[in-house]
């Protein structure tokens, strides 16, 4: 493979909650090199205090998301050659979240909203009961399954302009999770969750921009999930909570 350059031109945002700016680095190009590797190289070789976050390095933990050339991405699984462009590589902290330092964003709001959207299972049974038999083909199960493999990376959250404009909005990931649970026949939290997702930060704020599904690295479709929630919530309101 031919590389455009032996040395990659990389701009990295450095700073903290009080502001910052881009710093320029030359990073040796390699055959196998992800955006996370570029950031790592800079930290290990020229900028020892560069802050960023990662854990699993294989797209499972969702802690390495950053803005790469203006787009949110999981950096551990983004090969440089996929994104290296005319402007080189521009790396910044995830959008729509406060910066802690350099490339590390504060994800607290993201998870607070996850909880506010009732993004958790409410048990209807206990450990002493048998497990619910559920056919893998049951429509509810299929719907739940389609949205389940979220790694809470906040890439969708960073891609959504509605989140930018509306600080109360729960955002795509939390609502996508809520949708999974509304389809989970084992769950006993349907009603509280219905109230949560219909509340003022809930699903009705979504304008179906679809940036969330465009950027979700796991090819999930929060837009469809949120549309599903809108349908359910509207119907349940119209029928006085009887629709399910």
């Amino acid at each position: 493979m031919h590389r455009r350059a032996e040395v990659l031109d990389v701009l990295v945002w450095r700073g903290d909650a009080n502001g910052g700016g881009y710093h320029s680095y030359g990073v040796p190009a390699q055959e196998s090199q992800t955006v996370l590797d570029v950031v790592t190289w800079i930290q290990q070789n020229v900028e020892p205090t560069l802050a960023y976050r990662f854990a699993c390095r294989v797209g499972m933990c969702g802690s390495c998301a950053m803005m790469v050339n203006g787009e949110p991405r999981w950096t551990c699984r983004t090969h440089v050659k996929k994104v290296f462009g005319a402007k080189g590589l521009v790396i910044a902290p995830l959008r729509n979240l406060p910066v802690i330092k350099d490339l590390a964003a504060d994800m607290a709001a993201f998870f607070d909203k996850w909880t506010a959207a009732e993004g958790r299972f409410h048990p209807s049974k206990s450990r002493n009961d048998a497990m619910e038999p559920i056919s893998p083909e049951a429509p509810n199960r299929v719907a739940a399954n389609a949205a389940i493999e979220c790694i809470n990376c906040a890439v969708c959250y960073a891609a959504c302009d509605t989140v930018t404009a509306n600080p109360d909005y729960f955002g795509p990931a939390a609502l996508n999770r809520a949708w999974t649970l509304q389809n989970d026949v084992r769950d006993a939290g349907y009603t509280v969750r219905q109230d949560a997702v219909s509340s003022s930060g809930g699903c009705f704020n979504c304008h179906s921009h679809q940036s969330c599904m465009t950027y979700c690295p796991n090819e999930l479709n929060p837009t469809a999930s949120i549309a599903g929630l809108k349908r359910l919530s509207a119907l349940s309101y119209l029928t006085g909570g009887k629709a399910r």
Binding site: A165, F204, A234
Partner: protein, 109 residues
């Protein structure tokens, strides 16, 4: 900022308007062919219960729809608190309704 009631009101009013607006567009395209005149419009509409209902329904729907729509846009661009947003929504809705009502009255009565 938008809950289930505002959402439903906005979507249902949109659903109501959709056929009305398709009809309106069709009539417009047909009517403008010969140039518009007050007389031409009024001859079509005046005293017609049908057109009265048609435009009356539209005015009701659009007052609701546009007020909620603008509310969202205003909130997302200016970030006003609900305290201001709610009266604003009402104000837009009511003034559209009043103005629209006068217009319908004007062309139908």
């Amino acid at each position: 900022m938008i809950g289930v009631r505002l959402y439903l009101a906005q979507r249902l009013s949109a659903l109501v308007m959709a056929p009305l607006m398709i009809g309106h567009l069709a009539v417009m395209i047909y009517a403008v062919q010969n140039g518009l005149s007050a007389e031409e419009i009024l001859s079509r509409t005046q005293g017609s219960l049908w057109w009265g209902a048609f435009y009356g329904l539209f005015v009701i729907a659009v007052s609701i729809h546009a007020a909620i729509g603008v509310r969202a846009v205003v909130y997302e661009t200016a970030g006003l608190p609900e305290r201001i947003l709610n009266p604003l929504t009402w104000a837009i809705g009511v003034s559209l309704f009043v103005m629209g009502g006068r217009a319908v009255a004007g062309v139908v009565l």
